[in-house]
Symmetry: C2
Subunit: 359 residues, 2 copies
């Protein structure tokens, strides 16, 4: 059976002031008619029924997450006791899946990415499941065909071609690469055998647990203790005791870069990890002057800006160029677009002072 694991953590700094500690990106409706989490669930719903969709989220966000997904059993929203990066998260989900179906396959995906069109995505998921069914030892990862020398994404170097499954190319993985500089990204694009690491994985629960045990035995043992207690009355207590001691490490580093049977599917859809306000721009309607506008806004001689009024108030601008103005929850951000990287630091700085209520 196929299970969907949606990783819905996040600290809520990149989309401040709209995102907050208890309302991070995936719980926001940044574009379209639903929150990013709801869109993610809807995207996989044609292949996975609600009872087999699991959301792994933070304790602060579990309640809001359940509210947004009333069609899911409440127990399918699982709160991590503390953030421990993706390896413990994925391992926990694998334990839960394996307990329900020892032969269960799981797709792991972030809650806060945009993928279009959905039909292409679903076709790729089916191909990935077929690859895993044919070779249950496979660890399948999605590699998005790059369209520009993007420096904000990680890359996967594709190696030997293995097969073409329903028209989707399956290759061995040579290496994973962190976010490159521009020159390197241009080389990757020119080389033709690099893909964006979309953070989507398909594998048997048992297989990934086996690999975690092999490469991170302490983590694997801790996960097994949680898995053994899961579904019993001791489950929450064991999770609370074990999880904080698990190694804080991403699944890419802990397993994918070391495992043998890693395969990459070349997927050809529009993909946007919506990393910050800038990345939202292509998803919003844009006026004649290149402004992405939401809510009550009057813009005079303003261009290439992102202007969002979320509180019902009016934003009026004069003479802006490449500026982000966001009003939400009683706070207003006004930032030059090319300096948005400083937003994280700004939000961090709010912790210390009298503005902590805006976190």
């Amino acid at each position: 059976m196929l299970f969907a694991i949606i990783m819905a953590g996040g600290s809520g700094t990149r989309f401040w002031p709209k995102s907050r500690r208890n309302r991070p990106k995936q719980l926001l409706n940044l574009h379209g008619d639903a929150t990013m989490l709801q869109q993610t669930v809807a995207r996989i719903a044609p292949l996975v029924p609600p009872e087999r969709i699991l959301i792994i989220t933070g304790a602060d966000q579990a309640e809001a997450t359940r509210e947004q997904l009333p069609e899911l059993p409440a127990s399918n929203v699982i709160a991590e006791p503390c953030p421990r990066d993706t390896a413990p998260c994925v391992g926990l989900a694998a334990e839960i899946v394996a307990a329900q179906d020892p032969e269960g396959t799981m797709i792991v995906m972030p809650a806060d990415h945009v993928i279009q069109p959905e039909a292409v995505f679903l076709k790729a998921v089916k191909a990935a499941v077929a690859v895993v069914d044919a070779d249950p030892a496979s660890l399948v990862t999605f590699g998005v065909k790059p369209t520009r020398p993007e420096t904000g994404y990680g890359y996967i170097q594709r190696g030997e071609a293995l097969e073409s499954r329903d028209g989707v190319a399956v290759n061995k993985v040579v290496q994973f690469r962190e976010k490159p500089d521009l020159e390197t990204a241009q080389q990757f694009l020119a080389a033709g055998n690099f893909a964006w690491n979309a953070g989507i994985f398909v594998w048997r629960a048992r297989t990934i647990l086996h690999e975690i045990n092999r490469h991170k035995p302490l983590l694997g043992a801790a996960l097994d203790r949680v898995g053994n207690a899961w579904g019993t009355s001791a489950g929450p207590e064991v999770l609370a005791a074990e999880f904080p001691n698990m190694e804080r490490t991403p699944i890419d580093k802990a397993v994918m870069e070391k495992a043998d049977s890693v395969k990459v599917l070349e997927v050809v859809y529009d993909w946007n990890d919506v990393g910050d306000w800038r990345a939202l721009r292509p998803l919003l309607p844009v006026d004649d002057h290149g402004n992405a506008v939401q809510g009550e806004v009057v813009a005079v001689d303003t261009k290439d800006s992102i202007l969002i009024s979320d509180d019902g108030g009016l934003i009026a601008t004069i003479g802006l160029d490449d500026v982000v103005v966001i009003q939400s929850g009683g706070a207003t951000l006004v930032a030059r677009r090319d300096q948005l990287d400083k937003l994280k630091g700004l939000v961090e700085s709010l912790k210390d002072g009298r503005h902590a209520s805006y976190l």
Copy 2:
């Protein structure tokens, strides 16, 4: 007796969104502990008791004006039926003064200028009154000694020296000049015999009415009809009937540029007509990066900007330079400082659309 006439009209566009139609500049507390109107009344109070201070304002603003000045008799706040520029305003005030004291002297001043120090101002007022007492035909105007080639002010060219009254130089006026271009302003400054027209006048009520009758006989006759009815039960009705038909003209043009006995006092105080947000900057505390800040503000890598949060909300900025951010009454203005001249047009444009509630 000396009467003070405070002209407190204004449409509330230059300080939008803090200023609104029924809350124009003079009713705002833009700096310090009191509104500009209250500061103006306090400034003249050492020389004029409350019962001889008259405020001429608009019908929309009369109520708020009375609330701000509880020490004045309510009837001393006079609402013009409609805006008719300063000649009808001054003439109406002169009729009211003359009815109370045929020999009464009046000082006319705007409600929304900043003057410091007050002692220098009061000394100039006393000198002006002495000039009028010595020659009741005098029309005295205040000329501020210019300190820079300002293009935003009108100028007065000083002519023949007449006297020095208590150390204040009194000269004939050669001409009034509208706001000059920069080159002309530089010439004025270099010439040494030009002063800024501060919009403050001292004269006998009877004298200015005589001059209005001489240069604008239709206006003078209409004013006399209002004056004759003033204080009777027909007063308000006659005012409402006559005022809208009066010529819309400034007192400078209607009388001062034509009259013979115009004298200019050279006053040497800091004067700021607080024309828009930019002019407010020198009056506010400024941080190490040249930012004038009021209310809850967090500024990262931001300089030479004006950042005011008036609603209690938080303004957070990143990477701004020379930008004005004002949050007030549910609206937020974000404008490049060098393009603030477009604010008036922006506010005008709100009239037509669904944002008229922000006027």
